[in-house]
């Protein structure tokens, strides 16, 4: 991810200023798509119109810039950690800096990138469009959630500059209460970012319940909406417990409360219970929207109705619900009772079943489809392989007796990176490429996209397969100085990591360039039957020119008729809106 990514905000406003209304030369093919004259990007150019916007699409763009900057920062810390681990002893930094580097890599990636990434960017942008609504239920709360994110991230950044924590992103007591490093600003930063997550959750659930267009029943909802609904449920029910916990640890730093201080009879294992009650459902906050994106991408590029709509929708809710029963598998070796270990071990198995159902149905969707191999589909292939491999190693780690060997070793590090980078970042990139034409009205270079996708999939495997073997060999995680026999695997992992970083850089470059030089994409470049492709791209500020009625489900590839009917009771301007009576978009 190159440093240009955080300048893309300025780029967007500058780029759209001279909106080229001039139609392309007549010689081009008649249905050569033209860039619409009026759309949400040029609906006000002042900085104030961007920073105080209540349009869900502009808020999504703000989130995109913030989240990509966080990803860049987290990525830099990841490279620092990987470079340090090239040799057993000190390589480029000393032990304390290394401990800070892996902690900040964890905190930034999880709280500032993984949790807000897909819901806040693509959820905010496409939820209202997919519901046929004009905006989310509480637009001003949506803006407040952006500024809470900015405040939390700024506070955490300030903490990082003034010493940063070296406790790992889990802040386990009693070490997090006696660490000499400056951990309190990062705790309070994460607490504030938690509020931004809660507000997004409240916004999504209320919008899905009250803003659906007429005719859009629950069973016609796109599967991306189902996954956002399940994510919002977790965001609302799990985040407050983490908020309380971070306050308790901060209070222990300020006033010496000693609630988890063993010298006063406090119980550090209770801290772990409360922490993982949030943090395990949090990994489902990250992966569920990714699964929603994959359901959309698989149907569009296989041009086929989803295979088992009901099963995928209900397994999203299943993951959200059962995900709350499994937090104890993080405590198997921490002194938890054998009874609880057994209960959590068996319950963790059920969550694995829901992911398996979804994977079988995605592969089933490909059966008898009309598959076009574009970049989002390349990321889908990576996603499929990683979700099966990462998911099943997850179920393996949840097996109690195996976890005793693997707990806190590199096997666990490899597993959760397989899900977080393999599944979620792969889906994030798939979504970024799939919806890039709709969000910015421009096409990205397909060739470069496939090159970058293969680089990322290759680099990812080279980074994390060796870490599975490191874990088996018994190398604990968060080790600055490791035994010499582990070095070969670490060198392999670091080369993979640099390949991965180069892949991300490549994506940043060609996406930013195509923002300016990309050809106009037109309303439906992929020929998809999903709802969001029936409006112009980039969409109008009010999403649809007229009132919207939904005639059928979103994946109607067996009939030649658009799923959405637009009754234009207001005069449609010259823009690329579809014709009266729901014409069939190209």
């Amino acid at each position: 991810m190159s440093p240009q990514s955080d300048s893309s905000a300025a780029q967007i406003t500058a780029e759209t200023a001279p909106a080229e209304p001039s139609a392309p030369p007549e010689a081009a093919r008649p249905e050569e798509p033209r860039f619409p004259a009026r759309h949400y990007l040029n609906d006000g150019h002042t900085i104030r119109s961007w920073l105080l916007t209540v349009d869900h699409k502009r808020i999504a763009i703000l989130y995109l810039v913030l989240v990509l900057t966080a990803f860049l920062l987290g990525g830099i810390f990841a490279m620092v950690v990987r470079l340090e681990l090239l040799t057993p002893g000190p390589t480029i930094i000393d032990a304390l800096t290394y401990n800070r580097a892996f902690t900040l890599h964890g905190v930034i990636m999880i709280f500032l990138f993984m949790i807000p990434a897909i819901p806040a960017v693509f959820g905010n942008f496409f939820l209202p469009i997919m519901l046929g609504a004009k905006d989310v239920a509480f637009p001003r709360l949506n803006l407040l959630s952006v500024y809470l994110y900015v405040a939390g991230a700024a506070l955490a950044l300030w903490g990082m500059i003034h010493g940063g924590a070296d406790t790992g992103w889990t802040f386990y007591t009693p070490y997090s209460t006696i660490t000499p490093t400056n951990v309190v600003p990062i705790l309070l930063g994460a607490f504030i970012v938690g509020f931004s997550s809660i507000l997004t959750g409240i916004n999504f659930i209320t919008s899905i319940h009250t803003l659906r267009a007429p005719g859009l029943t629950w069973m016609r909802l796109p599967l991306f909406i189902w996954s956002l609904y399940a994510t919002a449920v977790i965001q609302i029910l799990a985040t407050p417990v983490l908020g309380l916990l971070l306050l308790l640890v901060a209070a222990e730093h300020f006033f010496g409360f000693g609630l988890f201080d063993p010298a006063r009879g406090g119980d550090p294992i209770l801290y772990q219970h409360l922490f993982w009650f949030y943090s395990h459902p949090a990994v489902y906050i990250m992966v569920l929207p990714a699964m929603g994106v994959i359901s959309e991408v698989v149907t569009t590029f296989a041009r086929k109705h989803i295979f088992g709509y009901r099963m995928i929708a209900y397994s999203s809710l299943g993951i959200a619900f059962v995900g709350f029963f499994t937090w104890g598998h993080h405590l198997f070796v921490s002194g938890e009772s054998a009874f609880d270990a057994g209960a959590f071990g068996i319950l963790s198995m059920f969550v694995g079943v829901f992911t398996a159902i979804k994977t079988f149905n995605w592969v089933g969707t490909l059966y008898r489809g009309a598959i076009t191999f574009k970049t989002p589909f390349a990321y889908l292939c990576g996603f499929l392989y990683f979700i099966v491999f990462g998911g099943m190693t997850g179920v393996a780690v949840a097996t109690v007796s195996l976890d005793v060997h693997w707990h806190d070793s590199y096997f666990v590090v490899a597993h959760f990176h397989f899900i977080m980078v393999g599944a979620v970042v792969m889906a994030f990139l798939a979504a970024l490429h799939y919806w890039f034409p709709k969000m910015f009205g421009k096409r990205y270079p397909e060739g470069w996209g496939l090159v970058a996708a293969s680089l990322i999939i290759l680099g990812f495997n080279a980074t994390f397969i060796p870490q599975f073997l490191l874990g088996n060999a018994g190398m604990p995680r968060r080790y600055y100085n490791y035994q010499p026999q582990f070095q070969a695997l670490h060198v392999a992992s670091t080369t993979g990591a640099s390949l991965l970083a180069f892949g991300f850089l490549l994506i940043a470059i060609y996406l930013l360039l195509s923002l300016k030089y990309g050809k106009p994409a037109g309303p439906n470049p992929w020929g998809s039957r999903a709802f969001e492709w029936t409006t112009q791209s980039p969409p109008l500020t009010e999403n649809y020119p007229g009132a919207v009625t939904v005639l059928s489900g979103p994946y109607a590839y067996h009939v030649a008729q658009s799923p959405i009917a637009l009754t234009t009771n207001r005069p449609t301007d010259g823009g690329g809106g579809t014709r009266e009576g729901g014409g069939h978009a190209a």
Binding site: D261, I346, A370, S401, M475, H558
Partner: protein, 351 residues
């Protein structure tokens, strides 16, 4: 087959009674994972090729799974996952119920070192000696933050939680030296908090234990782990003892009067030693310092001239500490036994 899989998965050797069971379940789970991801991958690749798009606006049939397939999608993973969930839990319960006749060893984790104390026997730093074939139960606790006692070769790990005890047990099956790691992040030198489990034959172990219990104060086996710096304000004698251990003096000089490679240090100070040349010299600071720096100048009668020179190896402060330590070794004043007191419950550092 077991050896092949173990080597392919980079697993350390199987040195405890649990290792083989855990590894067999491990092979089953990993093989199922590989088979499943291979199947899904191949099916997907076949579909990519077989059903590639042929015409631009090609319509595709709306295929929906029948009830049979839906049930299969649910039951197939459920059976596998719950199956090895239960198998794993059965092994775990065995790991958590130590036999009655297990030998107890108290493990005290302290910021960046391990300390082992046998109930009646000696206590040692970083090196845990256990007999093969006999169950050993560890009672773990910690002095400051959460640590985690992890022996990859035994496939065992348990957190040492401050202020309370957790337990784990094992039966070492293969003699050898296996590394101990700290698996729960515990601060600056978390990665240097290593140690070693030495699995010995029962007879050899009993001999060692007896030897440890008779010799007094025979803590020479407590080789300080690299991370241990004796607290600055510790007495000079204490620093001397640590220096003696660190520099390996106690490998040749006994401290309880028993004959060893070099002359015993018990009651050495103030004694008149007869040299191989017949010369009689009073053992006091000058002679002792010179013996450290240039040992071959005067060799005590009846001993081989094998002592290496420590010139430049030990600092003047260490030399002074060593002298104090030697002075303190008098048979009429026996040091206190280093009995395990259990976790001192004083507040964690820094409060």
């Amino acid at each position: 087959m077991n050896e092949l899989m173990r080597r392919m998965l980079f697993l350390p050797e199987q040195a405890s009674n649990f290792s083989t069971d855990v590894d067999h379940l491990h092979y089953f789970v990993i093989l199922t994972t590989l088979v499943m991801s291979f199947l899904v991958g191949v099916t997907a690749l076949y579909f990519f090729w077989r059903y590639r798009q042929r015409s631009r606006d090609q319509l595709t049939p709306d295929v929906q799974p029948g009830p049979g397939m839906e049930v299969m999608f649910v039951v197939l993973p459920l059976v596998f996952f719950v199956g090895w969930g239960i198998a794993g839990f059965r092994d775990y319960v065995r790991m958590q119920t130590p036999p009655k006749d297990a030998m107890d060893v108290y493990v005290m984790a302290k910021q960046w070192m391990w300390k082992f104390s046998y109930p009646e026997g000696p206590s040692s730093l970083s090196v845990l000696r256990v007999p093969t074939g006999r169950p050993v139960r560890l009672l773990l606790t910690s002095r400051d933050v959460i640590h985690s006692f992890f022996v990859p070769a035994f496939r065992l790990k348990r957190d040492a939680v401050p202020g309370r005890y957790t337990q784990m047990w094992f039966v070492p099956t293969k003699p050898g030296r296996y590394p101990i790691f700290c698996a729960e992040y515990c601060g600056l030198s978390h990665s240097n908090m290593t140690g070693e489990v030495v699995a010995m034959d029962p007879a050899e172990f009993d001999a060692w234990l007896a030897d440890q219990r008779t010799g007094f104060p025979q803590a020479q086996d407590s080789a300080a782990s690299p991370g241990e710096e004796v607290a600055a304000d510790a007495s000079l004698v204490e620093q001397g003892r640590a220096a003696a251990v660190r520099n390996g003096c106690l490998k040749c000089h006994s401290v309880d009067g028993s004959p060893h490679i070099g002359p015993t240090w018990l009651d050495l100070y103030g004694r008149t030693e007869t040299m191989t040349t017949g010369e009689k010299i009073l053992a006091e600071e000058a002679y002792l310092t010179q013996s450290m720096m240039d040992p071959l100048a005067y060799v005590v009668a009846g001993f081989q001239p094998v002592m290496p020179s420590f010139m430049g190896l030990i600092s003047p402060a260490e030399t002074a500490a060593l002298l104090e330590y030697i002075k303190s070794l008098r048979s009429d004043r026996r040091g206190g036994e280093d009995r395990f007191r259990g976790p001192l419950n004083e507040p964690a550092v820094g409060q």
